[in-house]
Amino acid sequence: MSPISSRRSDQIIVATTRVRALVRTLVAATAQATALATLLAGCGTLGPGIPEDPRHELTAVPFFPQTIHQCGPAALATVLGASGVATTPEQLAPLVYIPGRRGSLQVEMLAAARSHGRLAYVLEPRFADLQLELTAGKPVLVLQDLGALGIRRWHFAVVVGYDPGRDLVILRSGTERRQVEARDWFLRSWQAGGNWAAVITPPDDPPATATGDGFIRALSAAERYLSPPVIDAAHAAALDRWPGVPLVLLANGNRAYAQGNIAGAIARYRELLVAEPGNVAGRNNLASALLDAGCPQSALVEARQAAALVQDGSPLATAVQDTLAKATAAGGSDASTCRAE
């Protein structure tokens, strides 16, 4: 064998060896990766050994096993179903799934809940608040990071229970109807997304941990999808729960005004101004309602105060100037009914 052909045959052997190594690498790496992925998927979960316990979990919450990348639609169908909206992940996917991101965004989950006539309320990022919602009977939508080694793997799931004795969190998650996770593990996976959690609720049923301001914001964002009786019921529920909160009173006054209930609107605005005398919008709307009620004198007093309160360049300034101009133009004295309020 000449030196050249010998070198060539060496090269062939080296090449063959390299190809064989490559093939084995491919096979082995795939096997390892699959094992690792399975491990990750099962990490921290305790399997089906813990029996379902109605004292600690909401057993009636529906379950929709997810297909690949579709945990968003599945989790959303779960919380919507629990709030009384019958729908399926397939129906929701066109509203929340983004093919190019192979997933769903939090804000679109909330928006899709609103477009189904529900309020979406983002909780304070505390496990205690999550627990309070569970106790009040509401399953909680959460964002978890199930990744490892610095690789993010965002996942939506629905917490349906917490067992304080065993310190276990129970979720509808992925393809598991009852995924049981140690609380510490759950908290770690929850922390990466900023402890994001939300409840989906019928508009007249404020969440247990909601604030008056937060509830009015959630209601306001959903209002265009709601029928007038439902909006009325929601405002009534808010007033019932937070009778002294300025924003709740303003919203209730505005609702009454929009429905033509001038006396009701005036009463709410006056309550608001007792709680917060410097509220420009309340002062301005009271002036406007007083004008409509045939009380131009009182209206002018309120309109002048509103104009004195409003800051230059405020988006509210136009409305305030408009009301002042109307009250000034109206002139005259109050009708006899105005004193009675």
């Binding site: 064989r20 190594a21 990766a33 679109e108 965002w154 009015i216 306001s220 005004y257 405020s314 988006p315």
Partner: protein, 125 residues
């Protein structure tokens, strides 16, 4: 002007027309106008919201959402949500259970390490 810019401009004009109609009632300050005023300022904000709504719609389409669905979805977002999505649609957490992505990344890393000779897991061939 590119096709996308034109589309964004036209859609923005439509959203703006819709938006201004709803906030045009002068005199009484509605709850939504009040909340918006707390957060931002005036008509400039309306215009920027309309622009980002159209932009979000275009971005959703480029990520594989059908144009009709993208229109509905962009319209369903609040102003604050829009601003967030418009700037971060590529980086916001997208819950989807990226199982395949994990397998893929681990695989590629192992492959690169093996081929570059950093690791030599399979030397006994």
């Amino acid at each position: 002007m590119s096709f996308r810019q034109t589309t964004v401009a036209i859609t923005a004009a439509c959203f703006l027309a819709l938006g201004l109609q709803s906030t045009a009632s002068a005199g009484v300050i509605g709850t939504q106008a009040y909340l918006a005023a707390e957060a931002r300022a005036g008509q400039l904000a309306d215009i920027s919201a309309a622009l980002s709504r159209a932009d979000v719609q275009a971005q959703l389409v480029s990520l594989g959402v059908s144009p009709a669905d993208a229109l509905t979805r962009a319209a369903a977002l609040s102003d604050a949500e829009l601003a967030q999505v418009a700037h971060e649609i590529q980086t916001l957490p997208a819950g989807g259970d990226g199982l395949l992505a994990v397998i893929g990344i681990v695989f590629v890393v192992l492959l690169i390490l093996e081929l570059t000779g950093v690791t030599d897991i399979f030397k006994k061939v």
